[in-house]
């Protein structure tokens, strides 16, 4: 099996953008190709993560359009859809293509243009990932599902509103240092706690915004990486796992076995433990998810995340910085782009190129992209060093 390197990354600014979906995807993809000095190379495949262009933008077959716009014809091109983890799944598909030896170079892009549709339409669109006869028929929304879980966590473990919203304060502080983030301003805990209730106990600042944006990554067989970049970052592990679709059918709605399974697979493949990780990007579509993912990925025991947050350990200068990009809360969450953007951030961090939000000397990064409502999750482990087999070989 081949080793897989990331040789180029690119990302648009997230937020309310004038450009249409295809223009955003082209901007990010071209930036990734230029980053690798690879605008003239032949691409073995293009994988595009996108959740809802058919519903929001009346545009389908976005991968076919992108490969044409980039001048990459006749490269095979596929759209990959896994709800809010479409980007992570696109990266996993690209990774498998290179890892298997079927392709030497693959472009992975992810994008979404959400501001074309009014807020309630976006809310209804994302709710289409729920079960039509057991969840959606009662009008459940994703924030309401997150609120059910948040209340359950508060009942069992005593998590307060102040503790939970500290996650939003941290991520806004990080987003203020990220020139590509949707929100580039800090917030106070008082502002977060007094923000309007969305679905109690969740408040506005518990929830990520709807954003436009795109991100892209160029993957290459590691043997060719040095011809594209002086700073390759290696994909050491790619894990994915699923769970029951309906939240209330799961044995423990706080357990997130798909998160645990995806993370365990990624770490096993990487031959690394969570303790080896220096920087983390998690899928904080709602504040409670950052906490649950961190604990279920193995970074903290149950109840350990809130304590670590209060002690500043998760800040950019802490011992395990989480969401230095600002996370979904501040960087933004264009569904199809998020999983790719998380990995772009890790690459900048591992290259030492993250500017004001740079974590000190990271070697290993981890990303978790949360699809469905936790029922199809994709995790990746990245490193500045190649896998052990390769180095010894």
């Amino acid at each position: 099996m081949a080793e897989v390197a990331i040789v180029g990354v690119g990302m648009t600014r997230f937020g309310n953008r004038e450009e249409d979906l295809m223009e955003l995807l082209v901007e990010a993809s071209w930036a990734a190709l230029e980053d690798a000095r690879a605008t003239d190379v032949e691409c073995g495949g293009v994988f595009v993560g996108n959740m809802a262009s058919g519903l929001l933008n009346r545009q389908t077959a976005v991968a076919s359009a992108l490969v044409d716009r980039l001048g990459l014809v006749p490269a095979p091109a596929d759209r990959v859809e896994n709800g809010p983890a479409s980007g992570g799944s696109a990266l996993a598909a690209g990774y498998r293509a290179v890892k298997s030896g079927l392709s030497d170079m693959v472009l992975v892009a992810g994008g979404e243009k959400m501001s074309d549709a009014p807020g309630p339409v976006v809310t209804e669109t994302v709710a289409t990932l729920t079960h039509p006869r057991a969840e959606r028929n009662v009008g459940i929304t994703l924030p309401a599902l997150a609120a059910l879980v948040t209340r359950l966590h508060a009942q069992r473990h005593g998590l307060s509103d102040r503790q939970r919203l500290q996650i939003a304060v941290k991520n806004h502080s990080n987003g203020a240092k990220n020139p590509r983030a949707h929100f580039q301003r800090e917030i106070t805990i008082e502002k977060a706690i007094s923000s309007p209730v969305v679905s109690d106990p969740l408040r506005l600042y518990d929830c990520c915004p709807r954003s436009d944006g795109a991100a892209a990554i160029l993957l290459a067989n590691a043997e060719q990486a040095e011809s594209f970049t002086d700073d390759p970052v290696f994909v050491r592990g790619s894990g994915q796992a699923s769970d029951l679709q309906v939240l209330h059918e799961r044995e423990d709605p706080l357990g997130l076995p798909a998160v645990r399974g995806a993370a365990a697979r990624a770490f096993r493949q990487a031959r690394l433990e969570p303790s080896a990780v220096d920087v983390v990007e998690l899928h904080d579509a709602f504040t409670i998810l950052e906490l649950l993912e961190a604990e279920n990925c193995g970074f903290f025991p149950t109840g350990g995340y809130a304590r670590a947050l209060e002690g500043g350990r998760l800040d950019i200068d802490g011992d395990l910085p989480v969401n230095p990009s600002g996370g979904l809360k501040a960087r933004g969450h264009p569904w199809g782009a998020t999983g790719v953007a998380q990995v772009c951030e890790l690459v900048w961090q591992l290259r030492g190129a993250a500017g004001e939000r740079q974590v000190e000397d990271p070697r290993v990064g981890f990303a978790c992209n949360f699809g469905g409502f936790g029922n199809n999750v994709v995790c990746h482990v990245l490193s500045t060093e190649m896998g052990r087999d390769r180095r010894e070989g």
Binding site: E124, R136, N137, S199, D200
Partner: protein, 122 residues
């Protein structure tokens, strides 16, 4: 008095499940029978939702709850009147209209109310 709904019951382990599956989510068996169960139980967790989708915009808020039925199944429904329950509260339920699409189509689902509530289901 609450209403009743028909659930799938695993022919091997007896686990009740809604919605149905090809394989039992507890034991993996593939044979099911239908069982009519009472909609009585207790609130497992709940939320009062104020940011509502189009089909519920005529409400100020809607309460959603996961309910543990006495028969052992766990289900999701709305609670009426909104804001009237807390976790652990006994509830009774029925099947009713739970969502109205802008084009007039209606969705039906589970609607609960506190067991001690004596008013109507509005």
């Amino acid at each position: 008095m609450g209403g009743k709904i028909e659930l799938s019951k695993c022919g091997a382990c007896g686990a009740l499940q809604e919605p149905g599956h090809s394989k039992c989510i507890r034991c993996g068996a593939t044979r099911f029978v239908k069982e009519l169960v009472e909609l009585e139980g207790t609130v497992f967790t709940y939320t009062n939702c104020r940011a509502l989708p189009e089909g519920l915009k005529h409400f100020d808020q809607v309460t959603y709850a996961i309910v543990d039925l006495e028969c052992g199944a766990r289900v999701l429904g709305q609670v009426r009147p909104a804001g009237s329950v807390v976790s652990g509260m006994p509830v009774v339920g029925k099947v009713g209209v739970t969502y109205e699409h802008p084009d007039g189509r209606q969705e039906r689902g589970l609607v609960f109310r506190a067991k001690k509530h004596k008013g109507d289901w509005a």
